[in-house]
């Protein structure tokens, strides 16, 4: 173990932030925010009157309050806004209870459902959130309210972390994994083990057998897709269907999920990783409006 080294970190996906410089937030009435501290990534989303104003997307550190602050600070960067200008913040994700400036914590399941409703429209009925360490299939109504959900159990195969470990092993950058996995003449047989640890040795074995990287990736993406399709089928799928979370960016898996389901996923207009934070920001706005009514 001691001798084990990982030279380059191929898994490290690019962090990002954005804000709408055409909007003057001071004009806005309700400024709300959602902060999603996940096990792998954290996002902050700021909304002005229910419209997306700014967001950030970065890696979660081992100290979640800090991760929440970093995400928020980075989202605020260049906006001239400070946390105090935000009237209501909802925390979500694994670290939801540790978001310092949050008034309320709501699960990522509810937030992803609500966020998907905003990002993909009210016709969304099934959301698949492929997060860092778990995978959730969610049925929602036209308001974006959760009707039922299932989470993957026992095994983390088919999660973002799984894909990261794999990218590392093959020395392929995480953002290229998907495209590369599609550069095969025909689909190879699935890898039998999707366990992130044993998939490693299995993949190494295949590479030693002379399989090209893209073929190995195809086999792994296929296996991951197959697993989450099983989850979706247990829940029961209704269109429209959308995928959120980091893996939604992996065309190699998305296309294979669509293939096996025989259903197309709606194309995202925004960074799929921010869905949870978007939902949080929307809930924050609703909660603030309710508070005001009470007064």
């Amino acid at each position: 173990m001691a001798e084990d080294t990982t030279s380059e970190e191929y898994w490290r996906w690019t962090e990002s932030n954005w804000h709408d410089s055409d909007v003057d937030w001071k004009e806005g009435d309700i400024i709300s925010a959602g902060v999603d501290v996940g096990s792998v990534s954290s996002q902050a989303v700021i909304m002005v009157d229910g419209k997306l104003y700014a967001y950030s997307n970065m890696r979660t550190g081992s100290d979640s309050p800090k991760s929440a602050e970093n995400a928020m600070d980075w989202a605020l960067e260049g906006t001239g806004m400070t946390v105090d200008d935000i009237l209501y913040v909802v925390g979500t994700g694994y670290g939801r209870v540790n978001v310092p400036f949050a008034k309320r914590a709501i699960t990522e399941i509810a937030c992803h459902a609500r966020g998907a409703n905003f990002m993909y429209g009210p016709t969304i009925r099934t959301v698949l959130d492929m997060g860092g360490q778990d995978c959730k299939a969610i049925r929602v109504d036209q308001k974006g309210k959760v009707v039922s959900f299932l989470m993957n159990d026992k095994c983390a195969a088919g999660t973002g972390r799984g894909m990261e470990v794999f990218a590392d092993l093959l020395g392929v950058h995480i953002t290229e994994v998907g495209d590369m996995s599609l550069q095969v003449e025909e689909e190879p047989p699935m890898v039998s083990s999707t366990c992130v640890v044993f998939a490693k040795s299995e993949a190494s074995a295949l590479l030693r057998e002379g399989w090209p990287k893209e073929k190995v990736l195809a086999a792994y993406c296929l296996a991951m897709a197959h697993r989450v399709v099983g989850l979706l089928e247990r829940l029961g799928i209704e269109e429209d269907f959308a995928i959120t979370g980091g893996i939604a960016k992996n065309i190699g898996i998305v296309s294979r999920i669509e293939q096996e389901l025989g259903i197309k996923a709606l194309k995202p207009s925004l960074d799929t990783q921010i869905a949870g934070a978007v939902g949080g920001a929307l809930f924050a706005r609703a909660l603030l409006q309710k508070e005001r009514k009470k007064k």
Partner: protein, 257 residues
């Protein structure tokens, strides 16, 4: 008699050159994707280390999951056989050998002649192998080599129920969110792993002396947890990750057969 043992493991290729039971040279190379190349590289390094030329070698035995890939090996032994031969050579009184490598844990019972009488291999579960601590170290944002020493400073035992390495990671994350001290989490990680290894070892029966070999033996946190579970002190050689390769070399020389 000068012989070579080549251990092609899941992660690394290890080579040991021995003469009349004494280690003359050794080398370890990351297996990577081109195993043949790694084997060659490791052999060269070992010969350099031993100050010997290849033609001075009388026999080469291979072992490890990739043993079939060692071109020009005179014969091969399984990891179980090589572990036993190597460990017994170092510790003649050992009756139980526990080998914890990067991706697999093994427990082996040997008789006084060093013959394997029973063995157990952990079923496909990372929680019983080094890969587990790697994942946990990453979740804790600690260099792997700090994980062990840190856990030694912990005084609090927290039960961790996780078989899957990655789910254990999310449990670690929730412990972090619950403001648990890193050192206590580190201990929980090693305790979980030790429980798993001990369970497996009890299958073959834990008879002293117990030798602990494999790379994970270098992790003092794990060793501490394991000794607590086994309620005994384990013997750990200087170069725990080379024992299997040494065993193969000895078997090539007809020692410990």
């Amino acid at each position: 008699m000068i012989t070579t043992g080549v251990d092609v493991g899941a992660r690394n290729v290890k080579v040991v050159i021995q003469e009349d039971g004494k280690v003359r040279g050794k080398a370890l190379v990351l297996a990577g994707l081109d195993t043949e190349a790694a084997i060659e590289e490791a052999l060269d390094a070992a010969f350099k280390d031993a100050g010997l030329a290849r033609d001075e070698i009388e026999k080469t035995f291979a072992t490890g999951a990739g043993r079939k890939e060692v071109a020009g090996a005179d014969d091969s032994y399984t990891e179980v056989g090589a572990d036993a031969a190597g460990a017994i050579h170092l510790y003649p009184d050992a009756r139980t050998v526990i080998d914890v490598g990067a991706e697999e844990g093994r427990a082996i019972r040997v008789d006084e002649r060093g013959k394997v009488v029973d063995f157990a291999i952990n079923e496909r579960c990372a929680a019983g192998a080094g890969a587990f601590t790697e994942a946990m170290a990453r979740a804790l944002e600690l260099p792997l080599e700090e994980l062990g020493p840190l856990s030694l400073t912990s005084t609090k035992a927290i039960p961790m129920n996780a078989q899957c390495a990655v789910f254990a990671e999310s449990e670690v994350v929730s412990l972090i969110h619950a403001k648990t001290e890193k050192r206590d989490i580190a201990r929980a990680v090693h305790d979980a792993m030790a429980t798993r290894i001990t369970s497996m070892a009890r299958r073959v029966g834990v008879v002293p002396e117990v030798a602990l070999i494999g790379g994970v033996a270098r992790n003092p946190g794990f060793v501490d947890s394991l000794q607590r579970d086994l309620e005994l002190e384990v013997l750990i050689p200087e170069d725990p990750e080379y024992v299997s390769a040494l065993g193969a070399a000895l078997l090539a020389a007809g020692i410990g057969k």
